[in-house]
């Protein structure tokens, strides 16, 4: 058949044939809209914008190939089966055929999504690249109330909690966490796994309210896919560090809602090479596994020191870059204790990820508050009644700021009862933004100071000494500025004195004028210079205008858009500066 021949009723070539509207696609697939939606979500099919919208501008278009892709998916058949099954059960119940209903309910048709995952993400890195949304969603659902009768099944929420803990345990264990940020929306984390930067958001550990303005069907479909994806991801990641995947946790710790700690412990014990006891036990079945999990508690590796030792060993084995090394040794040799009121889950995740040892107030904690080796206690209350002199009492923000700055910041600003310094986002490129907050500069100086100093990282004992050194270096850089200022002041003063002297000697104004005539001349020349400058500027502007008029209309539009963008950015920065100035002036007024 020649190419130009088009049988009657066939689509034309081009966009009309390549793209199909959603309504038509649903009709073509012979499924309901809800099923289509679900299918699209699971298969990752999204609408595409054709160059020419044949059917109208306000319609959604899918590529015909995508629709064909859906058409041939076995999942469609499975969905039909489920629908039929539901009808059968309904019928059996209506006919009071309880046997049949039970039998049917016993074996509902199920489907698996592993094939879909492999189809959408043929390689592991692809999956890692798209993991942001998955993690955010799973963490969000993990924070929802696990209450029977709500719109989300309790079991799924528990599953989300488990998956998120497993992920966090892996990140913490491999020290791949890079940045953290407490925002109003929750806590942002950024980790680097296999060279991919993965950012996710966990809501604050507070009661979330299920609102009515969201469609849970859509979200749960997404969650279904994400749960499976994260499960497989976790399996692969655990596999890569030689840990059995569905981890068996100590039920005692699990009951105390410290799954993360339990997981960490599981992982660290799972890689003990010469642990014959555990090796023996592993061969046994589930029951013994549970026993093993309990035994982990009694193993020597449970002591924090030993745990750290193991972590060290494993990280030494890994091939890693400087970044990871820096991260894993940030809180090395530091021992933290969390008070009741701080967000425990987040800190239990972060501190070990940066090489620290941590315990908390409550049951199942590895060590007590009275432990002498504790260097920092994280407290978030107005006053601390009982104070150990051997440790610092800091607010939780200190940890997050230290992590972002990658140095141990001086704890003075974060002491209990004080308003901590501003918490800055590590995701902002300050220089690109054009405005550097004050505290960012302070941190920069501290970092520079820490870099210059080729000292081993602060051990517990000489912490104070180290701090003074840091301060000294900061002082040195600051002192230069001060000297400059002083010099200027002196000059001004000198001038003032000279004038006074002249007055004393009784020189009249005219004299002075004649004296200062040279100055006047200077001024004139300056004015002339200014004039020249102005004309030069004018010429430059003219040249710019000419080149603008020579441009094509499209390019001119682009240029104007860029200019608008730049001016907006500038306005923003100016606004920030103005606010800062206002705040400072009001503060100084108050101080007086």
């Amino acid at each position: 058949m020649p190419k130009h021949y088009r049988p009657a009723g066939k689509k034309k070539e081009g966009n009309a044939a390549k793209y199909i509207t959603r309504t038509k696609a649903v009709k073509y697939l012979q499924i309901s809209l809800a099923t289509f939606r679900k299918l699209c979500i699971l298969k990752g099919v999204f609408p595409r914008d054709p160059k020419k919208k044949v059917e109208g501008n306000h319609k959604t278009y899918y590529h015909m190939k995508d629709i064909a892709f859906l058409f041939h998916d076995p999942l469609i058949e499975k969905f039909r089966e489920i629908k039929v099954h539901r009808k059968k059960v309904k019928k059996a119940v209506a006919k009071k055929n309880k046997d049949l209903a039970d039998r049917l309910l016993n074996r509902p048709p199920t489907y698996k999504l592993d094939r879909l995952i492999l189809e959408r993400y043929p390689s592991f890195v692809d999956a890692l690249r798209d993991l942001d949304d998955c993690l955010t969603m799973v963490h969000l659902f993990a924070a929802l109330p696990a209450v029977e009768g709500e719109r989300v099944q309790v079991q799924r929420i528990h599953n989300c909690r488990r998956l998120s803990h497993e992920w966090q345990a892996y990140i913490s264990r491999t020290h791949s966490l890079r940045k953290t940020f407490i925002s109003v929306k929750g806590i942002y984390y950024q980790a680097e796994v296999q060279g991919q930067k993965i950012t996710w958001l966990t809501p604050h550990a507070l009661q979330q309210v299920l609102t009515d303005d969201v469609d849970f069907n859509v979200m749960l479909t997404f969650l279904e896919f994400y749960e499976t994806l994260l499960g497989f991801m976790n399996f692969k990641l655990y596999h890569s560090i030689n840990v059995n995947y569905p981890p068996v946790l100590d039920p005692r710790l699990e009951a105390l809602a410290s799954e993360l700690y339990a997981l960490c412990r599981y992982m660290s014990s799972g890689i003990v090479p010469g642990n014959s006891e555990s090796a023996k036990l592993v061969e046994d079945k589930d029951e013994s596994e549970l026993r093993l999990a309990q035994l982990q508690h009694q193993l020597p590796s449970n002591e924090p020191g030993a745990l750290m030792h193991l972590v060290q060993e494993s990280t030494a084995a890994d091939v890693e870059d400087d970044d990871a090394k820096e991260c894993s040794s940030l809180f090395k040799n530091l021992k933290f204790y969390l008070s009741r009121e701080v967000p425990r889950e987040s800190l239990l995740f972060i501190i070990p990820a940066f090489g620290g040892t941590v315990s908390w107030e409550g049951e199942g904690a590895p060590f007590d508050e009275t432990d002498e080796d504790i260097t920092h206690q994280i407290v978030d209350r107005p006053t601390q009644s009982h104070v150990f002199l051997s440790r610092e009492y800091v607010q939780p923000q200190w940890i997050y700021d230290c992590v972002n700055a990658r140095i141990i910041l001086p704890a003075e600003g974060y002491v209990v009862g004080r308003v901590p310094p501003p918490h800055l986002s590590p995701f902002v490129d300050n220089s690109a933004e054009g405005y550097i907050p004050e505290y960012a500069e302070t941190i920069k100086k501290l970092q520079a100071a820490a870099r210059n100093q080729v000292l081993p990282l602060p051990s517990i004992g000489d912490e104070d000494m180290e701090k003074t050194l840091v301060e000294a270096i900061i002082d040195r850089s600051a002192s230069n500025e001060v000297a400059e200022k002083k010099r200027k002041l002196e000059m001004l003063e000198q001038q003032y004195h000279d004038e006074l002297k002249m007055e004393y000697e009784g020189k009249t104004y005219s004299h002075m004028k004649s004296d200062n005539q040279s100055d006047v001349v200077d001024n004139d020349s300056e004015a002339a210079n200014n004039h020249v400058d102005d004309s030069y500027k004018q010429a430059e502007k003219d040249a710019a205008d000419i080149s603008k008029t020579v441009m094509s209309r499209k390019q001119r539009g682009l240029l104007e858009a860029i200019e608008i963008h730049h001016s907006r950015k500038k306005d923003k920065v100016n606004l920030l500066k103005k606010r800062k100035k206002n705040a400072e002036s009001s503060a100084s007024a108050k101080g007086r």
């Binding site: 609408p47 959408r120 043929p122 109003v184 809501p203 923000q397 501003p422 800055l424 986002s425």
Partner: protein, 588 residues
């Protein structure tokens, strides 16, 4: 009930006179019923029922002693009577007993438990034993009277035909002894279904949920995604400083700024207003968390995705590179000669064909001819009007200068060169006779009138309207003038040798701006506001129409080689130069 006999005696003895009045109304039956009831229950079945009925009705009949009616008794609390009897006398209340007295009396009285004080009638009523029994039965939820049977045997009052034969005498049917065929069929069906595995009772085996999905990453062919190219969804924006729970002061808007957001359009309004919390524990749950998650989901599956290249362009690179002045060298940079003499602005300049002379026209009303080499002014004509244009005759041996002064065209003899040339020029610029022509045209004013100029020894071409341009033919005999407001006589052709002029174009596409001769061929170009029309002079027809594409043509010129036409236009800011190739294409 040992003291039942005594009870009855006490009842009659203890009763006060007013109580006897009531009881005296009771008929004998009731009393006898009590007696008989005590004697035997079974025997008195028949007699009791009417008696009971009677007593019920009699109780209703007894008028209450109290005649106050249905009013609260509190009203009579302090009175000593309770209403009036039929003869109008007060019905007195009983005397109040002291508590001790009452107690003593009650203690002595064994039947005290049966006495009830009737407040309404102000009397003490003694319940009979029978009544007490009724009350106790009612409390137990039984019928008040013992002799009422709530479940009597059913008496079949009607007769039936089959009454004498309770069982059928028909032989037992076979189906009672043979197993059911249909049941068997059903069972067979089930059995077969079970055998074939259509019906399974055990729960399906649980397979391990997760396994190593991604194996070795070595074979790249398998790792390719099938189908259309995948466009990953853009990642959500990372949070800035302002989203911090504890942002620095400058990120927090003042109250006025927050108020001013209300005046903005909803799209422009900032979605997030930074807030500052003093400590981490005071940060509340983010109420829009679910909503934002949901919005992200919607974006992921509903938004059309296209790949767009976002290039980080330096705005400077967009601007076309203007050639630097250095590259344009050599160009005159220093002033070599100045021709001084004009008092007003010079409006037009023309170089003679040999290049030795320059003519200039100024708005001070003079035309001057200069020698190029020395800058000496050779000749001055004081024409007494604004000189718009000057043009030399292109023939080197004809030193004729065409100048537009005010409305009209002036042909002047420059009087340079050797004498022979000067003579010829002078001859050329002389009109012999013109009277008959004038008569011919008669009523209509001619477009052009050739008149000798007496003062300067030249010719004046008096046009009917203002002339804007003048251009010479390369042979120097013909020249053309354009009168923009001349309608059908806008473009004029003049022949110098015959002192004759005509207007060949009746119709033009728009207002004529300028007209030029081709430098070597017999072609003629007329520029209107938007087009350039090319005419063949010999065939007297249009050859080509060139579209310049500029908004308004202001001038036109032809390259001496004859291949290119250049058109100048009045653009907004600058003068665009447009090249038109008469043969094939146009280039801007």
């Amino acid at each position: 009930m040992g003291h039942s006999d005594g009870d009855h005696d006490d009842l009659s003895a203890d009763d006060s006179p007013w109580s006897e009045d009531i009881w005296s109304d009771d008929n004998e039956g009731s009393l006898s019923f009590e007696d008989s009831g005590e004697g035997s229950d079974a025997e008195s079945d028949e007699t009791d029922a009417p008696a009971a009925e009677e007593s019920d009705s009699s109780e209703d009949e007894v008028a209450p002693r109290n005649t106050v009616g249905d009013v609260p008794l509190v009203w009579y609390k302090d009175e000593e009577h309770i209403g009036y009897d039929i003869s109008g006398r007060k019905i007195k209340k009983r005397d109040r007993e002291g508590r001790i007295e009452a107690y003593l009396r009650n203690a002595d009285d064994a039947k005290n438990w049966r006495k009830i004080y009737d407040e309404y009638n102000d009397e003490e009523v003694q319940i009979t034993k029978e009544e007490a029994k009724i009350i106790s039965r009612m409390l137990k939820g039984k019928t008040p009277h013992t002799n009422v049977d709530p479940y009597p045997d059913y008496v079949d009052w009607f007769e039936y035909d089959d009454k004498g034969h309770p069982l059928s005498s028909a032989p037992e049917p076979k189906r009672r002894f043979v197993p059911s065929k249909w049941e068997q069929k059903k069972v067979v069906k089930l059995v077969r279904a079970i055998r074939k595995g259509w019906i399974k009772f055990d729960k399906p085996k649980e397979e391990p949920n997760f396994y190593l999905l991604w194996g070795d990453e070595t074979d790249t062919a398998d790792n390719k995604r099938q189908g259309l190219s995948y466009i990953p969804a853009p990642k959500p924006n990372l949070p800035g400083h302002e989203e911090s729970y504890n942002p620095s002061v400058e990120y927090i808007p003042t109250q006025e700024e927050i108020d001013s957001y209300q005046l903005m359009y909803e799209e422009d309004r900032p979605k997030f207003i930074p807030r500052r919390f003093d400590c981490l524990r005071s940060v509340p749950a983010y109420e829009k968390a679910l909503r934002e998650g949901f919005d992200r989901c919607l974006d992921l599956y509903l938004c059309p995705r296209t790949r767009k290249k976002r290039i980080n362009i330096d705005p400077e690179s967009l601007k076309p590179k203007l050639p630097s002045k250095k590259d344009l060298r050599p160009y005159p940079r220093t002033c070599y000669l100045e021709f001084k003499g004009h008092n007003g602005p010079v409006k037009s300049l023309s170089v003679e064909a040999s290049g030795q002379w320059i003519a200039s026209g100024s708005s001070d009303g003079t035309i001057r001819v200069w020698e190029v080499e020395t800058g000496r002014c050779i000749k001055v004509w004081k024409v007494g009007g604004v000189v718009h244009r000057v043009a030399w005759n292109p023939q080197p041996d004809r030193h004729i200068l065409a100048a537009i002064v005010d409305h009209d065209l002036l042909l002047l003899n420059a009087e340079i060169g050797d004498e022979e040339v000067q003579m010829r020029t002078k001859k050329l610029l002389h009109i012999e006779e013109l009277a008959p022509e004038e008569e011919e045209t008669g009523d209509k004013k001619p477009a052009v009138k050739w008149v000798n100029h007496d003062k300067f020894d030249g010719i004046v071409l008096i046009h009917h309207k203002a002339v804007s341009t003048v251009e010479w033919h390369f042979k120097g005999d013909y020249f053309t003038t354009v009168v923009p407001s001349g309608d059908s006589r806008a473009v004029l052709l003049h022949q110098l040798s015959k002192k004759h002029s005509h207007h060949p174009f009746r119709k033009l596409p728009g207002l004529p701006i300028a007209a030029v001769f081709h430098p070597s061929q017999k072609m003629f170009f007329v520029a209107t506001k938007k087009f350039v029309q090319v005419y063949d002079l010999q065939k007297a027809q249009i050859v080509k129409k060139l579209e310049s594409g500029v908004r308004e043509i202001s001038s036109i010129s032809i390259h001496p080689g004859g291949d290119n036409v250049i058109v100048g236009s009045k653009m907004v800011n600058c003068v665009g130069l447009i090249l038109i190739y008469p043969h094939v294409h146009t280039r801007h």
